[in-house]
Every structure is written in structure tokens, then in C-alpha cells.
């Protein structure tokens, strides 16, 4: 699935319950992060729950693994990774993620603190991209 497909799937929901049940499903399907990476080193700061993000870089592209102890956040991570995974640093820098989230209609339903958590995650991804 790509982000276009996800956006289309999202457009079918007319209540928050169905939409976020779907986000939860994305979270459940997200490949869990190896427990060895669930350390301070890989923790993304500024989130109400624990969030970890681990980058892998090969053949000019980034692949991230992420996880959280909160299931809705895991779902959001799945979406963020769908947006950013297997992209070059240049592509990562050019993505306007807030527009994508606005299109998904996620932003309005997130509490400010969780949105900041998501933005912290995005900031971290961009930080990794800037290093390349």
C-alpha cells in the first residue's frame, strides 16, 4: 500500500471510530521493533508515550523501523513510515507531511501533544536525512 491508497481508504470513513479502528489495525500490523532497539538511544523525545525510531541507510535510501507502547501512536508511525520509507534524503526533505496529514483528516482529531509527538518523529527523520 502507498500513501495515495491510504488516503483513498481514509476517505470512506465518516466517523472517528471507524477511522481510528483502521489506524489501530495499521498499528497492529506494523512490524514490531526488535526489543534491543527499545533503548534511550533510539527514543524520540517529545511524545507522551514511548516512541522509538531506528534508521537504516542503504543504496542511497532510508528505511526506518519504529514502535511505540501506545497502539494509536503505532498506527500513526505506520502512516509516517509509509510516507518516508525507501526514499532518498532529497525526497525526504521535499515531503510536505502536514499537507498529507491534513488530507488524511488525521490532524484535527489528534490532541496537540500527540501531534507534537508525530512532528517530533518527522523532525527526527528529517534530521537523519540532513546528515546524508
Amino acid at each position: 500500500m502507498d500513501i495515495e491508497e491510504l488516503t483513498e481508504n481514509f476517505s470512506f470513513f465518516d466517523n472517528w471510530e471507524d477511522k481510528y479502528q483502521y489506524v489501530i489495525d495499521l498499528g497492529r500490523k506494523l512490524e514490531p521493533l526488535d526489543e534491543n532497539f527499545k533503548t534511550e538511544e533510539w527514543k524520540v523525545k517529545g511524545c507522551q508515550s514511548q516512541v522509538w525510531l531506528v534508521p537504516h541507510f542503504s543504496e542511497g535510501k532510508f528505511h526506518f523501523n519504529g514502535d511505540s507502547d501506545a497502539i494509536l501512536v503505532r498506527g500513526i508511525i505506520a502512516i509516517v513510515l509509509l510516507i518516508y520509507n525507501d526514499k532518498t534524503p532529497q525526497e525526504i526533505k521535499s515531503i510536505e507531511v502536514t499537507k498529507i496529514f491534513a488530507k488524511l483528516g488525521i490532524e484535527e482529531n489528534l490532541t496537540p501533544s500527540r501531534r507534537n509527538g508525530m512532528l517530533s518523529m518527522v523532525a527526527k527523520i528529517k534530521e537523519y536525512a540532513d546528515l546524508k
Binding site: 472517528w16 508515550s49 514511548q50 507502547d69
Partner: protein, 407 residues
């Protein structure tokens, strides 16, 4: 007993609809909502006699000085202090405790001394002491509670000795709701020559305080929790101790005589109130206290006790819900976990259902961790909380439990 629905009419915020529905406000432990009379009182000051207190020689200045000093007397009566000069206005309880640490603490705590606190302290009654220990070479000692959050006298007494110079404890835990026998604790502390500071932030909202009966040396609470405004807090200190303490901050209103060579400082309480005070907030807090007094603690306790019972019963209907902190003597604070649902996930659904609770470590990380969690959900009661608020909480929790259940 009172009609809670009538009481709720005194609080304008309960008229607010979010997405067309009322909000069940269950976060009074973090901060209380305020009655109309607090707004009216503060508005009256600004509209009718606002000026800088203690400085002017005209009608407005005299009037606000009188109201500010009257607020001090209101607080004095509220906690039954013997002398109104024992009441110092601060920004909040955190500043009250920092004031003691930075003045009395630096003067009296030295290498080899010990400061004793409970493991359930709010960061405000922990971090200042930790810092004081770091710079003075003293040691911070912590007495544990029972697994259900109960106070255990033996654990406290085992860590109290002639090296203990200060015992700093909360009268009521903001996470567990546990009430501490502060009178008993103060007597034991005094027996070994230690001073006693009581964090009364939670307790002051629900129960009457008598600093002379408790015989504590210091006591701190904040205005925004006793149905008053933000930006104002209280430090009570025994006059004979306060008189020996150096100033906390330096500047206007706290001096007696200033030359370039030397400054002499004002007597208590002015010595600890440098700069323009939060006068309107102090007067607003006094009205919050008057509001409590008009209803009466007897009535508030009767109402809240019934709600505590009701909440405990109703929460047991939620599958996998575990209340953290079940001491026999506990106030209207309910920290809980629901199975392995993350509190942040719970709060998402509760927010959708217009139920306002707090999640996280509640500024008391060590006790949350000690109970086996990184984060907890917490619902807390105030004098305006109704059974309908609890019903809304339980309904939202049932919905959340189902929402996150793995089929």
C-alpha cells in the same frame, strides 16, 4: 449535604459545550475550576480600586493594600495560623517549597545531614530537596509505602534519626490519594529535632487544615487548586523560624533601608515578598477560600465521600481496570490502568467522549514507576463533581476498553 447541580451553576465553565456536548471535568487534582464569585472579586479590584499595594498614599492604593492584607488574614484563618505574618504569598506551591529550600535549607542543611521524604512526593516536594542535598552534601532519604499505597509508620520511623534535619511530606498524594498522618509524622520528626514541611496542595482542596494542631514548621499550597486563580501560592512558616531566615529574592517591597553600602531587610512577611505582588490573585484566592467556607468542609466531605464510594463501585464495572492506590484513608483521586491499554490511547477515546482526565506521570514519576507503570490515567474529584461525571467516565472507559480490545 448540598445540591451539587445548584453548586455547578456557580461555575461558568460547566456551561461550555464541546462539540455540542457538556464536558465531564475530572482533573481537579491538576487544577480546580473557579466559581463566578472569584471572577467577580478580581474584576471588582481591577474596575474599582486597582493600584500597586503597599506603595501609594491615595485611595486606590490604600484600598488594595487593605484587601491584599485581608487576603492574608483569610488564609491565616483557613489554616488556623496563629499570626498573619506567618503567611507568605508566592507564585505557587512549587515556589513556596523552593523558597524554603533556598533560604532555610541553605542556612541549616549541611554535609552529613538527612532530608526525609516519602516515595509518593510530587516533583515539587522532591527535586528542590534533591538539589539542596547536591549542593549541601546532605543525603536525601526516602521512606517507602505499602504496595496498595498505604502509609507504613515503621518504614517512616526506621529512616528517621538524629541526622534528619527536615521531613517533607505531602498531606495527600496526588497520584494515590493516600492521606498521611501529618500530625503523627510531625511529632515524631520533632522528637529527633527535625523540622517539618507539609505539601498541602491536594489536602487543602478537600479537608480543613490546622497548622497549630499539626504543629508543622512549614506548609505549602496553591491558589489555583482551592478554586482560586493561577499565579498565587502560599507558604506558611512558624514566625520564629521565618524571622531567622534570609531573604529569598531581593528588590522592592522587601527592604527596610537601602544605601549603596548596605541594605537592611523588612520584617516578615514582606522580607519574602520582593517586587510587586500578585495582589489581585491573592484577593481572588481569598474569595476561593470564602467560597469553600460558605459551602463548608463538612458538606464538601460528605459529598465527596459519597462520590468516592460511587466512583470506586462504578470503576469496578470496567473490565481489566485496576485502581492504583487503595489505601484505607484516601481522598478523591483515582489513578488507574485498564489492562495493557496505554493511558494515552485511553485518553484519546475519553477526549472524544468529552471526559477530561489526566494521563502520564503526574509530576510524581518515582511513585508511578514504583507502582509498576510509566504512565497512569487519573480521574479526580472536586466539590462540583456529580455522579453524571462519573457515569460519563465509566461509559467512555467501557467504550475505550472495547475499542482497543484485540478480537
Amino acid at each position: 449535604m448540598y445540591d451539587v447541580y445548584k453548586i455547578r451553576k456557580d461555575f461558568p465553565i460547566f456551561d461550555v459545550l464541546v462539540n455540542g456536548k457538556p464536558v465531564a471535568y475530572l482533573d481537579t487534582t491538576a487544577s480546580a475550576q473557579k466559581p463566578q464569585s472569584v471572577f467577580d472579586t478580581m474584576r471588582r479590584v481591577y474596575y474599582e480600586f486597582y493600584a500597586n499595594p503597599h506603595r501609594g498614599t491615595y485611595y486606590f492604593a490604600d484600598a488594595i493594600t487593605a484587601a491584599y492584607e485581608q487576603a492574608r488574614k483569610t488564609v491565616q484563618k483557613f489554616i488556623n495560623a496563629g499570626d498573619n505574618r506567618e503567611i507568605i504569598f508566592t507564585r505557587n506551591a512549587t515556589e513556596s517549597i523552593n523558597l524554603v529550600a533556598a533560604t532555610w535549607g541553605l542556612q541549616n542543611i549541611h554535609t552529613g545531614d538527612e532530608i526525609l521524604i516519602s516515595e509518593a512526593e510530587h516533583h515539587a516536594n522532591l527535586v528542590p530537596w534533591q538539589h539542596l542535598c547536591k549542593i549541601s552534601g546532605a543525603e536525601l532519604k526516602v521512606f517507602p509505602l505499602a504496595d496498595n499505597g498505604e502509609y507504613v509508620a515503621e518504614e517512616f520511623l526506621a529512616r528517621l534519626n538524629e541526622k534528619t534535619k527536615l521531613v517533607a511530606v505531602s498531606a495527600m498524594s496526588n497520584v494515590l490519594g493516600t492521606m498521611f498522618p501529618i500530625k503523627e509524622i510531625a511529632a515524631a520528626a520533632h522528637n529527633v529535632g527535625a523540622k517539618v514541611l507539609i505539601d498541602a496542595c491536594q489536602f487543602a482542596v478537600h479537608y480543613p487544615i490546622d497548622v497549630q494542631a499539626v504543629d508543622c514548621d512549614f506548609l505549602a499550597f496553591s491558589g489555583h487548586k482551592v478554586y482560586g486563580p493561577t499565579g498565587i501560592g502560599v507558604l506558611y512558616g512558624k514566625a520564629e523560624i521565618l524571622k531567622k531566615m534570609p531573604p529569598y529574592q531581593f528588590g522592592g517591597d522587601m527592604i527596610e533601608n537601602v544605601t549603596f553600602e548596605k541594605t537592611t531587610f523588612a520584617d516578615i512577611p514582606a522580607r519574602f515578598e520582593a517586587g510587586t505582588p500578585a495582589s489581585v490573585q491573592a484577593i481572588g484566592m481569598a474569595e476561593g477560600i470564602h467560597y469553600i467556607e460558605r459551602i463548608g468542609f463538612d458538606n464538601i466531605i460528605t459529598h465527596e465521600n459519597e462520590l468516592i464510594k460511587y466512583t470506586t463501585e462504578r470503576l469496578s464495572e470496567v473490565p481489566q481496570l485496576k485502581i492504583i492506590g487503595t489505601a484505607k484513608n484516601k481522598g478523591g483521586v483515582f489513578s488507574f490502568a485498564v489492562g495493557n491499554i496505554h493511558p494515552q490511547d485511553l485518553a484519546f477515546v475519553l477526549n472524544k467522549e468529552n471526559v477530561a482526565i489526566r494521563i502520564g506521570h503526574h509530576c510524581a514519576q518515582p511513585i508511578v514507576n514504583r507502582m509498576g507503570y510509566n504512565s497512569l490515567a487519573r480521574a479526580s474529584l472536586g466539590l462540583y463533581t456529580s455522579k453524571e461525571d462519573i457515569d460519563a467516565l465509566v461509559a467512555a472507559l467501557l467504550k475505550a476498553e472495547k475499542f482497543f480490545r484485540e478480537e
